[in-house]
């Protein structure tokens, strides 16, 4: 007998789950993420995929992966911890915002309304997971040469991959240097612009180890609900009572 081959990639199942939730009662959705640390290969594809998807400038990272070595030779292994925004159900960050620019949306995603954010950075300090960073308006291409006519040069490079912000929250933001999101607090938003069109967040689709799962935890048929039944489930800094929507499998 031939082995049973997988019928579909889990990304396909999760995308189908996602569309089912979008097609049903929107108010019952609670978006959640699960990260399986045993499957994480420490490849940083999610970090860079997110940087590229959201055109993040130097100093702004939504989803770093923290690497650590455990044990003593020869009993040693390496451990990886991808750390997006936890999208807490009891978020400390939203409470300190003086202008209500950051809040939990109906589906449990902690968002930042760039048009309201005044860049005070209270939320950066309030987040126990260091999940927020400030956009100080920096450019990756600042120190590269203009070299006009001789090489591609700085202007062409910066115009091509830095000047036009990504369509975060499905909106076209002004050319970089002319307003938001420069000056704002920035953070992971579960790629709501992708979710809105029936796609999974970029860190999920680009996860080479299939270690990142996304879906509606209120949908009992979803893969994410299945995985939440695992005895390996835990959350970061549970003791703070922040109730993250991001879970880990150890």
């Amino acid at each position: 007998m031939a082995r049973i081959l997988p019928g579909e990639d889990l990304l396909i199942r999760m995308q189908r789950d996602l569309k089912r939730s979008l097609a049903a009662d929107m108010s019952s959705i609670k978006w959640s993420m699960i990260i399986d640390q045993a499957k994480c290969a420490g490849c940083h594809a999610c970090t860079i995929g997110c940087v590229s998807e959201n055109k993040l400038p130097p100093g702004v990272v939504y989803r770093p992966v923290i690497e650590e070595e455990v044990g003593t030779y020869p009993n040693v292994r390496r451990r990886f911890l991808p750390r997006p925004c936890m999208h807490c159900q009891n978020p400390p960050c939203t409470k300190v915002c003086p202008v209500q620019a950051t809040y939990q949306n109906q589906q449990g995603v902690v968002v930042v309304d760039y048009t309201r954010c005044i860049g005070c950075r209270y939320c950066l300090v309030a987040c126990p997971y260091s999940a927020r960073t400030s956009d100080f308006g920096e450019w990756y291409t600042t120190d590269t040469p203009d070299a006009e006519g001789k090489m591609v040069g700085r202007a062409k490079a910066s115009e091509s991959y830095e000047a036009i912000p990504a369509t975060e929250y499905g909106k076209q933001w002004p050319k970089r240097g002319h307003g938001s999101p420069v000056g704002n607090a920035r953070k992971c938003h579960f790629c709501l612009h992708r979710v809105a069109v029936g796609m999974l967040p970029a860190c999920v689709t680009t996860c080479v180890g299939r270690a990142t799962f996304f879906g509606n935890r209120n949908d009992s048929q979803s893969l994410i609900s299945e995985l939440l039944g695992s005895p390996r489930v835990h959350r970061l800094k549970e003791e703070l009572g922040t109730k993250p929507s991001v879970y880990y499998l150890q």
Partner: protein
Amino acid sequence: MFDDTPGDALTTVCEKNVSRREFIKCSALLGGSLAAASYLIPLMDGGERGMAFADDLMGNAYTHHLPENQIFSACQQCNTQCGIKVKIQDGVVKKIDGNPFSPWCMTPQIPYTTPMTEAATIDGSLCPKGQAGIQALYDPYRLVKVLKRAGKRGENKWQIVSFDQAVTEITAGGNLFGEGPVEGFKDICTLKDPGVAKALSEDAAAVAAKKMTLEDFKTKHAANLAYLIDPDHPDMGPKNNQLCFMWGRLKDGRGDILKDFFGKALGTVNTHGHTTVCQGSLYFTGKAMSDQFIEGKWDGGDKFYWQADTGNAEFVIFVGSNPYEANYGPPLRIQKITEGVVDGRMKIVVVDPRCSKTASRAWKWLPVDPINGVTGVAMGMIQWILENKRFDARYLQNANKGAAKADGEPTWSQAAWLVKIGENGKPGKYLRGSDLGAEIEKRPRAKAEDGEWEFDAFVTLSNSQPVLFDPNSETVPAEGELLVDTEINGIRVKSVLQIIRETANARPLKEWAALAGIDPDDIVDIAKEFTSHGKKAVADIHRGVSQQTSGFYNVLSWYTLNALIGNTGWQGGLSKSTTYDRMGSRPGKPYDLGKIWKKAIKGWGVSTIRHGVAYDKTTLFDGYPSKRTWYPFCSDIYQEIIPSIGDQYPYPIKALFLYMGAPVYSLPAGHKLIEILSDTKKLPLFIVSDIVIGETSMYADYIFPDTTYLERWEFAGSHPSVAPKVFPIRQPVVAPLTETVRVFGEDVPLNVEAFVLGVAEKLNLPGYGKDVFGPGQNMTREEDMYLRMVANVAFGDKEDGSDKVKAASEEEQQIFDKSRKHLPKTVYDLERWKKIIGPELWPHAVTVLLRGGRFQAYKDAYKNDQLANQYNKLIGIYMEKFVTTKHSMTGKSYLPHADYVACPADCTGKLIDDKSQGYDMTMITYKTITQTKSRTSGDYWLSAVYPENFVEISSHDARRLDLHSGDRVKVVSASNPDGVWELGFGSLIPMIGKVKVIEGIRPGVMAFSLGHGHWGYGARPVVIDGVTIPGDARRGAGFHANAAMRVDPVLKNTTLCDTVGGSAVFYNSQVKLMKV
């Protein structure tokens, strides 16, 4: 093969802007048929999207998910060559994701029939380098116009010249640099008449074989001797051979154009790739093992290798291979391993001195000694498996095809074949029927006009009686005893497996373990596990095994181990790559692309790297040792090309063309190349195709800017671990940033194809211009070749056309055109493209182009527990050819089977002992996932994650050497006691790196990751047209210690090398760390 489903019509209905009620209706109609093309519920349109969120935060400006904003292609940030989906807006690449049709990016990938409207919303996975490809494309340091050196070689002073001027100068030659006359291509490539070439070639071979005297040759060919490099050594071939083409990363399609240009149109035999800097000895062991017995000779071996069928194996030993960070792993293999290991299908072992990310997920990590460790493990395992009878005897007893077939085995081996033992006790040639008095049989050759060949049977022992057999017979099966040591007719013979057994028994298991530096119990544990999963266990080997002075025998030992369980061709065993045919020479195919070379000459003569020929079979033979090593069993010996030019052996080279290569940076002891490249006497003309001025191209006379992988064509091929038959396509996704040039009266982007066409036009070379493929069918632009190859692939590999892909619908054809609207006419013109392919095949080609290639369904790659794309051949584990061939440095014959061969050795086989001279650390390298060796240092997103590399040592050594993390140390070695790169013009770069103390490395070993410490590639200033363009420090961060790798003490200008399999040696150098 082609996934035809009834889902398409339904999908079309569902794709329109429909209400949610209609959605549900459609979904109900589809029922549970998830395998159908439309297995995702169609996405919502913009209006519904806004409503769905009921949140004024959200807009609908996101458009990357629309098919008209995407082109599917193939990545080349490393050689994994994953499928990519490039999202474009306003003619600019905005995002790169994995191609969901590609088996690289999803397991299994989506069905090939999935409509593009749906595939556009599905992203496959992609590694961080692939994500950062945008920055390789829009690199500020990229060249856009041709550069000619304005100073001395390597001074990094340049002037911009027109494409036409550069091509004219290169072809015509002259006093190009004010340093005296330089020969152009027209002076070098003088032999053009195929008839003359053939006559010279045949008689030169006769002279080398001593079947014709040199005098007779000279008399007969008096009129044509001027074409030869040296009439006294006619077997060196024509002067054309003094033009050399070497390449770094080159795949199919582009590879065909370049290799045919140099090899066929210009007629040089010197076209050499870079295989040996990667894993040459792996490929060339594969070549030796795949030799078949054809018409009386061992021949026909393919340059290839096997890897584990990762997604179906139950037990994999990764030896010197690291699929989590390199090794054609991410994204192709990681998912299969993580899901396998965590979800309980699979167990893995990692054999590596360093605790790699792969090792972090292993059941056992075996931190072997980098010197001799991997063979120690293999020999110990072979011994345990043979002594405990844990091998697959049923498989190994099959001595020929017939016996294998009867058992349902896809392959067979020589395990039961009998070998004659010499008086010295050493195994020699196979025992043959004629040795036992049997008659030699005359048989007709496959090509009747070639006459007959003599068949002399091989012999195995069955029931203590010799049995004569034909290895290829399908009708007369032959099986034999496995462990034989006896005399037949007074001839001492042993079976091949017995020879291997004795080899493995040369030391007790605990001594093999001690050699490897590990616990003998671990060897027993993994040998037990390896033999507990039937055919679903496999040893997957790579650079750590091959890049050693004993690389060939290390690889052969591990592949012999795989042969003991007969796992080749089985699901979960060893797999090979399979691709669709692009050349079209088979009957029924649309375009026979090889026919354009009918009028060209066939390159001939000994190559500058002396490959594929034995030294003593040439006129240069002058006793042992030869001046430099000869390589009868391998090719593409990268580290020999430039050093051979330096020694002008076997003859001087007059012009070198380097394509997408960085030998100075990437080769071990690459610093030795700088002096040779700087010497205009030894290398009069040096032309490079590059995208940035790199560590090697900085020594060029001319640099022709190339298009990046996002602006051009190429066909990415496959990897052994990819079980489905595939054909990934790289195609232009945005307008090239290089300038537009004119060739054959057409406007084309400046790139390497333009160079080929420009030279071809100037020299009126055969194979280019109007009507070469037939009336009205030209070869005047790059796509004239590429689109015809796409047509061949779309047609498929069945003569009657039944393997053709489905034609693209009218809607998909519109998507195709819309998604390319931003491309300039120099690259894309719908009518021109259609005309090249022809109206009939065009819609089929569109299907393939839209999907970024052609990919067989994952489930169709397996049949009855075996791989559908089968190998079905003999697996060679005893190389008779080796017994009869002599090593040019020793005059001794080559060892014909797996064995432990001690490292590190020089090219004469003498062991090198730098350790006793105080060089106490063995240096190894590895690849971090964020860097490719030589072309990612300008990807700033990547350097943000891992800005610099480190001198990684164990805490044990840190204590011993009183070093701490953050200390700066200089890396010095016996062949580089100053620890510097000498760039010329007084420029020195010391090899100084920051220490990082870790637990995950074997004591006595120092590791560093490749890809950092650049001095070219924008890291340092260059001058163009008198203007200094400053460097960017980020690109030079970290250090690069290849110059500390051991120089061969005999050859003195190249790295240590495996003289059998050709590998450049990365893991056998001893170094010392000097605190600074």
